[in-house]
Symmetry: C2
Subunit: 347 residues, 2 copies
Amino acid sequence: MTSGAERGAGAPAPRSADVARVAGVSRKTVSRVLNNEPYVSDEARRRVLAAAEKLGYRLNHAARALASGRTRSIGVVALGTAGYGTASLLVHIEHAVRDAGYALRIVNTPDGGPDGIAGALESLLEQGVDGIVVSEPIVEGKVQVRPDVPVLFIGAPPAFTATRTVTVGVGAHDLARAATEHLLDLGHATVHHLAGPRRWYATRDRIEGWQAALAARGAHEPPLLNGDWSAASGYAAGRALASDTSVTAVFAAGDEMAIGLIHALREAGRRVPQDISVVGFDGNPVCAYVSPPLTTARQPFEAAAREGIRLLVHTIEQPDTDPPPASDPPVELIVRGSTAPPPPLPR
Amino acid sequence: MTSGAERGAGAPAPRSADVARVAGVSRKTVSRVLNNEPYVSDEARRRVLAAAEKLGYRLNHAARALASGRTRSIGVVALGTAGYGTASLLVHIEHAVRDAGYALRIVNTPDGGPDGIAGALESLLEQGVDGIVVSEPIVEGKVQVRPDVPVLFIGAPPAFTATRTVTVGVGAHDLARAATEHLLDLGHATVHHLAGPRRWYATRDRIEGWQAALAARGAHEPPLLNGDWSAASGYAAGRALASDTSVTAVFAAGDEMAIGLIHALREAGRRVPQDISVVGFDGNPVCAYVSPPLTTARQPFEAAAREGIRLLVHTIEQPDTDPPPASDPPVELIVRGSTAPPPPLPR
DNA sequence: TTGAAAGCGCTAACAT
DNA sequence: ATGTTAGCGCTTTCAA
């Protein structure tokens, strides 16, 4: 009714040959128009488009993929829990992929281990993607698949080999360093770190940034606290920490963990930020509204996704020319009410 | 090295004909084995599997799709911001889809309007999915695409027509009602409601559940407060509300909004829950660790996704037989510290 | 239980 | 600027 694309319910879907017939051209010309290839007269183009519209024609991607060897789709290996960080990154990846004119295929690997990643890659490769995105993979273990399409690693060095790999950082090291320095600048003697699971690259990056900041100031490096990104794990760490009054500053590797940590601290009678300062990591918008509003290191998810996909698509479409080098995203520390100078009598 | 699947870098990928040759059978027999069809001798099956393994054979999904007309993939129209609710639902959908042996294709529609949904459907249909999932769509406007594959609507009635539609609820109405009743049971004279954007079905459901609870108790129905799911919008609503001391209880349609709301209330000097009680909606785990811990209505995302995909796959694979009816997921209200009886002197 | 032949709908290579 | 031919790698008949 609206687009003139009516056909009986049982009728077969129109094919490019039908469009060609109605438009009075060859199938190849239809193909040219649909793929925006040159050497088509405006007149022919117009007629093809009109015929396609009239018939309600829809291109068959499977046939195109089979004939051309390309799918115009990108696969994502997601390390997906529903945490803010991974979800946010995924949303931005989707957006960037769509803007680039590609479709998105997703395989999740909740555990993120080498076998999970290998399985996800196999699945994506079978489906026939032109490129693959791996975000924040795991450190340990060997991935026994070698994709023959370009692979983008976001926030990590290549975790396995592939025909071509491209990487884009999220500045985690610098962000962690900035977060730690912020605490040091406030006058804290040292800063404790609540880390994520050691198997993640993301965890390692943050630890190293934190260590670098401490070392640069000659501050003592206290033992690591361990979490698993969840608020519950932050809470557990907070309970363990609360009785130690020598602790005056904690940098948590994730906002959720920071929130759990603060909750435990306050339950134990320690004030934030008066007794202990806490910095989070990610930049979850909700952090502005918790008590106290959380100082956090904002990860440039959107910039990283956009830049990464740009690089990946370049590698897919022009494997021979070097892509313009990626510009490092800006480091952004959002200072709010959860950080303050240490208490006057650090006993 | 590991799987014996070595071939030179430049060599073409093996095809089913290669497997057939190595196994000493016909291509059709290879196809039978790969599709778990009957009428293959154990001996033939074994040889085919061994040959495939040896060659590092990987099935070409595009070719299969072209030949069979089916893709074994399911498309999701996501209304994706990075909020906990949508992200969590998506994770569970992915899991359920994979368990069912299907691949996942995703198109996001941040605005969620009819045109956005129509475009997303077009894209999915071109890619050739066997079924489509639409989660929590928008109320208004007409979607001018009529998919010829089954469509699953999660948390909403069918928003447009399709060959076959199947729906699965998230119990939003009952959850909203339970949240409101909880507040009423505590002794509050009435309950205010901070709603999401009116264009969402999800918003409407919650409003109706809230109204039903109020009506059942003969409570006065105060004017709606408006938010957009974000913590910032909850904060804005809280500022507007803080000066009205007649308000003693608010049911917020989302956890993030509830957190923003509470923050504004406290900034204005109103205590939660002593002066005002607040209930959230979704069941974000982090709610247990904010101050005060947030009472919230937990949405059964996992159950809804699992049940919905089960129904959808049934409709795809056995269009003739009716699927076993969906069982409504349990209503679960998590009571924490943000709700209490109203203050003694309701002025 | 197995195989031979004929497409699926499109694009690539080579005309014209 | 346009058309013709020959596949892409698989599944579907249908026959054996």
